[in-house]
Amino acid sequence: MLLVTALGAVFIRDLFAVIMLFGIYSLVSAGFFLDLSAPDVALTEAAIGAGVAPLLMLATLALTREKTTPQPRAKRSIHTSLLPILVVTMTGAALVYATFDMPFIADPAGPAHNHVAPRYLQASGAEIGIPNVVTSVLASYRGFDTLGEVFVIFTAEIGVLSLLGFLADGSGRQYWQFEDTANLRRHNILHVVSKALIPVILIYAFYVQFHGDYSPGGGFQAGVLFAAGFILYAMIFGLQAAYRVVSPTALYWAMAIGVLLYGGTGVASLLLGGNYLDYNVLGSDAVHGQHNGILIVELGVGICVAAVMMSVFFKFSGRTAHFYDDRREVRK
């Protein structure tokens, strides 16, 4: 099924369809992750791959609005059509070559299962005291990677801001003057339904955030869900309404604070005499310290991710409003 969707993405020319197929592709691979007993990853892939990424692609498409125009054959030289196939085949050959000596899938004797990983499974219960091992590894053992991950998100947001408009005074006033053409406003039933649904989404996001120690989930997934709730609101009631609820300035502050909360936890542990991001010193004993550390860190991740996702979406759709307003001016 994955193969079919992927192939579809190659051959279909209509970009709308390709984006939707990509959404399906992500959903299927998320299901696949679930089947391989990786619920955390499945959750994230669904929220990101099937949710956020196609959303942004659609927004971009709305801004650029083009079909992949069928290329006149003459324009395609041998160079452009043969080279990719050659490169891809070579890479594929290398990959197939690599598989011959791999340990079989799910083979418990494979080295990956026998060196570093068992310690996480055996000791994290006593050292960290959280049932979800993925959360323990993510936030504590490899907490520094996750710090880097949060900074990657932050960097992306800086990029989107710099490319799609950073408001000097941060009030969002510049965008308010544009009439938002969100046509979903017409749909009255949608209004009623979503008004009831949005609180559910937000509450559920909190559940995912704080229950991440015991079940799949955590700051990142919660952040995306939380943002999804607001994005739904913005899609239905228009961007201005959404800006009235959370101003861009608030979002900027929120994401910087989220990042700093994570980094600051590390600095706090430095000041208390531990190594960077050593949570043991943050509580009365090691396990409590780990609990506190992971809680704060996950909160930081959640805040940052939610703020960044919202802000990115608002920038994209704010650009849309902006863009169409210009076009209408031209037509007059």
Binding site: S29, T64, I105, Y120, A156
Partner: protein, 118 residues
């Protein structure tokens, strides 16, 4: 025969990677390039998760009475990689928006024509 069966996951992953990689290189439309990139990356995620799978392994959430768990480390790595992927996507898409505004097109060939060389 066992080689083929024991490695089937990897073969699927490789096919997916090739498709994604081909789209990245060969597509002329910039949005499609980004989609290809995403497919490419997603297939790498599947590769990692396949590494982490273990026979009869439950999800790595500690529970009474469960002995065998899947390997949590690749899951963590992939969570990070997914985030990195979406960050790249967001950045690439905003670049596309700006390119469209500057050139009036998101086709690689058109852009190359307008710049003379690239």
């Amino acid at each position: 025969m066992t080689t083929v069966l024991g490695l089937y996951n990897y073969w699927i992953v490789i096919a997916l990677m090739m498709i994604g990689f081909y789209v990245v290189i060969a597509a002329s439309n910039l949005i499609k390039k980004i989609i290809g990139l995403n497919i490419f990356q997603t297939s790498v995620f599947i590769l990692y998760i396949s590494i982490g799978m273990r026979e009869g392994g439950a999800a790595p959430i500690l529970k009474e009475g469960v002995e065998v768990y899947a390997n949590p480390l690749p899951h963590v790595l992939i969570l990070t990689a997914i985030v990195v992927g979406v960050a790249t996507t967001a950045l690439g898409l905003s670049l596309i928006v700006r390119i469209k505004e500057a050139y009036g097109s998101i086709e690689e060939d058109d852009i190359a024509e307008k710049d003379g060389s690239l």
